[in-house]
Amino acid sequence: MSNYFNTLPLREKLNQLGVCDFMESSEFLDGVNALKGKKLVIVGCGAQGLNQGLNLRDSGLDVAYTLRKEAIEGKRDSWKNATENNFTVGTYEELIPSADIVINLTPDKQHTAVVNAIMPLMKQGATLLYSHGFNIVEEGMQVRKDITVIMVAPKCPGSEVRAEYVRGFGVPTLIAVHPENDPEGKGLAQAKAYCVGTGGHRAGVLRSSFVAEVKSDLMGEQTILCGLLQTGSILSFDKMVEKGIDAGYASKLVQYGVEVITEALKQGGITAMMDRLSNVAKIRAFEVSEELKDIMRPLFQKHQDDIMSGEFSRIMMEDWAAGDKNLLAWRAETGETAFEKTPAGDVKIGEQEYFDNYTLMVAFVRAGVELAFETMVQAGIKPESAYYESLHETPLIANTIARKKLFEMNRVISDTAEYGCYLFDQACKPLLADFMSKVDTDLVGKNFNEGKDGAVDNRNLIAVNDAVRSHQVEQIGAELRKAMTAMKAIKTA
């Protein structure tokens, strides 16, 4: 197998990277009909598998789970998840041959083995559904020509997929059809029906391609989503402790601050996040984030270049082959940082205080979101795709940090995201050393407005507001968020 993207001529590369269509709700009027009466068999029953299955069944579809023999015999968690919710569970041999749609919701790393095991058992003309395109695009998996290959990727954790469905809504979803595997032309209709089955059609569906999904997803998770949030959190905590701020307070500010700050981002983009600051603080946060953008731009570009060339997946797969040597070492290191080891103090931090005392994180988030977005768009990814993989997902990852800090964040995200996150973090920290040496507690740990009279220069403020509001990520974001207005607020600490 070789990297699929690299086998394409430039014209086709650009063509597939450019698939990006925010779908109208009228495109879903056929409901679940394209899947009605068909046998849906889900491989794997973790959080995504179980919750998608519950939704599909409640939408009137026929859902069963297939697990490896050892998982069934050992009555593992996946087996319990499926049987205790009254789903049929069977081995690959028992369920795959009669399946019309096989849904692969196993971790990336297992895809090659899983697909090689199920493909010979799949019936003629069946459909294989992925929720991430790594296996097809980066590993170059060749799927039998009679099989239709589609992707449906809800852009939220599994529990949210369920929670939003039962309240009569859904989560934003990305769908794609692999152009090499759509022999009957039914791929798109089935992907749309699947979206209706999980409720995604109510919250905005973006039609993408396997290529665009992979190249943007990898970039987002490595840079702004996981990488920069990790780097920014650790540097902020260390700075506060160095300057004599109480460690318990610092730990709480960092753990929950990023969630509170990005909640404003989720509701109203970078504009809303910046507007939570006083005028003086906003101007300062703007200046700091401009500086951060200049420092980090080359690193963001390197990550995007390595993702496009396939270099990133090559070295990561080398690490897979080496038994995850680097991944495990970096993971252990993350578990040992001072931030991770200092429990959040028993202090009350008000919602506004998280903005006022953590202006540095506002600057990090603005710099990271804009840089990731800009770099993706420059590389040929469409703005809508870039928005989903940068701004949209940031609050979701921030929520995992609020739950149990960075170690937990890295446990929850995929191994692929985790590997990329560490790569970024390792390179970014030294890059920011000079910058951080100049940072003081007015930016992190204490109220930025303290001792200032709040006066600003009008023209300066107008220029800052203009720069923030007119950025392309804000314009595209306003459009896409219209479809998600009802997304519920994540409850903050």
Binding site: V32, K36, G37, L50, L54, R57, D58, S59, G60, D62, D77, S78, K80, N81, E84, N85, N86, S159, R162, A163, V166, R167, G168, F169, R202, A402, R403, K404, T485, A486, K488, A489, I490, K491, A493
Partner: protein, 487 residues
């Protein structure tokens, strides 16, 4: 005479542009136990929260604890709303989550929760045993918090408060969701804590209260008015009877003669059987009362009918003439049902406005996600008017007192003029007059042929149209009987 335990002078409290409390004075002397009543929205909860120091106010509240007393010097407030957290300290739960099994537990067990509480307040676990027994709660020690029903959460909340034995205990509508036996036992427990020196402020409009109460007050027009024991709150002053909107007067259209048919329905979690061999048939137009003590399986039984229980797919039963699990979606089922339950209320989107909440009944969603169009907008307006909610229609649910939230959700329940009404303790949080008024509305709707399943723990507060009764006990059908012979 010693100083009052609680001395309130000139308490003023505004909520948005409305004045809630205005110049309220109140002195609670040592040894006194008070009942406070008043209509929904009169400010009962506000006074309680002000005493407990949970909201800001203007005026003076002085609390003089007895420093020689062994009981904790605390004013402990038990809210009319319960809360719980998962193991990570978050409370991001969703409707129906308790029926979905996940291999890893996300919430603590009741036992672990009580152990934590004991550590935090230096209490002895041996002292909680009697309270748990009195509230029929002992069997639930190994249940996890997410699995508890609303009545069971209420019991846990009360257990903790009684166990703590603070010098001042403020209970806000503690009887909500409790069955008759638990209400009696709660009163006995309260009499006992009072006899040991705890002073009680009970906020309730109920008739059966602990014998320890000997002073009574009503909150009216922002002030506290002491009343005689016999002269209890009636709430008669406020109701204007309006005609039921025309769109709700249309005869109900049924899609099948048989609404529900259950054949040996069983629900179990591991070894625990929640429903055992349930056989039940409900025909179109019948009016049923569903009864049983807390934990007897009522909510679980209803969750099967409303499409909220995943084990529905492993059971043999028919809804609206179709076998459950034969390709229908839960939204097709919900479209025919108007549902209100304590859980629906608890999990309802707090960031929706009253108007949006009512309109969301057309789509069975929690919160409104689309423009309902002219006709539905107009019908929503009519119901807003009918329920007297104009003043609040653009206010967020989370900013309203419980009683007003409940009225909005009742409007949401009937807005579709559905084939089947499932009213699971619909009048929680309402005063007697509002309850009577709503039950009259239910009677009127039922005259048009609507099928009804009603759950109510207060025998005196039921609609007149009830004609059949099914009683559950320990997950089994204990009895089925006809109360009224109708045509």
């Amino acid at each position: 005479m010693s100083q009052p335990v609680v001395h309130i002078t000139n308490l003023n409290l505004r909520y948005r542009q409305n004045t809630v409390l205005q110049g309220l004075d109140w002195a609670i002397q040592r040894g006194e136990n008070w009942l406070v009543c008043g209509k929904s929205g009169s400010g009962k909860t506000s006074v309680a929260k002000a005493i407990a120091g949970q909201i800001s106010y203007s005026g003076n509240i002085k609390i003089n604890f007895d420093t020689s007393c062994a009981l904790p010097a605390a004013a402990h407030y038990v809210a009319n709303w319960y809360q719980f957290k998962d193991l990570e300290g978050q409370s991001n739960f969703y409707y129906q989550q308790r029926y979905n099994k996940q291999s890893t537990e996300t919430t603590a067990s009741v036992r672990a929760e009580l152990e934590n509480y004991a550590r935090k307040h230096q209490l002895h676990l041996s002292e909680v045993v009697a309270i748990l027994d009195a509230l029929d709660f002992t069997e639930l020690l190994d249940a996890t918090l997410i699995q508890l029903s609303s009545g069971e959460h209420k019991k846990l909340q009360l257990t903790k408060a009684i166990w703590l034995k603070p010098q001042l205990l403020i209970l806000d509508q503690p009887y909500n969701g409790l069955d008759a036996r638990s209400r009696q036992n709660l009163n006995i427990l309260l009499e006992e804590v009072c006899s040991h020196g705890t002073q009680l402020i009970l906020i309730s409009n109920e008739q059966e209260i602990p014998a320890s109460i000997h002073r009574y007050a009503e909150i009216r027009d922002g002030r506290l008015h002491e009343i005689a024991a016999g002269q209890r709150f009636s709430g008669l002053q406020q109701q204007v009877t309006r005609p039921v909107p025309e769109f709700l007067s249309n005869p109900t259209v049924f899609s099948s003669f048989q609404i529900i048919k259950m054949i040996d329905v069983n629900i179990s979690y591991g070894e625990k059987h929640v429903l055992k061999n349930i056989n039940w048939e409900v025909n179109a137009g019948e009016k049923w009362l569903l009864q049983g003590p807390n934990g007897s399986g009522k909510s679980t039984l209803l969750s099967l009918i409303t499409g909220d229980h995943p084990q529905a797919y492993a059971n043999n039963f028919y809804l609206f003439g179709n076998k459950r699990g034969s390709g229908e979606s839960i939204w097709e089922i919900k479209q025919r049902i108007g549902l209100i339950s304590p859980e629906l209320h608890w999990y309802f989107d707090p960031s929706a406005t009253v108007w949006q909440s009512i309109a969301s009944g057309f789509y069975d969603s929690s919160g409104l996600f689309c423009d309902p169009g002219y006709t539905k907008r107009k019908q929503t307006d009519e119901l807003v008017h009918y329920f007297g909610l104009e003043e609040y229609k653009n206010v967020l649910m989370s900013e309203l007192p419980l009683g007003h939230q409940r009225l909005a959700l009742l409007a949401r329940t009937i807005i579709k003029n559905p084939e089947l009404l499932i009213l699971d303790e619909p009048c929680q949080g309402l005063d007697q007059q509002q309850t009577k008024h709503f039950n009259q509305l239910v009677d009127e709707l039922c005259e048009n042929g609507t099928t009804l399943i009603y759950v109510g723990h207060f025998e005196s507060q039921l609609p007149a149209c009830i004609e059949k009764r099914i009683v559950l006990k320990n997950g089994e059908v204990k009895s089925v009987e006809t109360l009224l012979e109708n045509a």
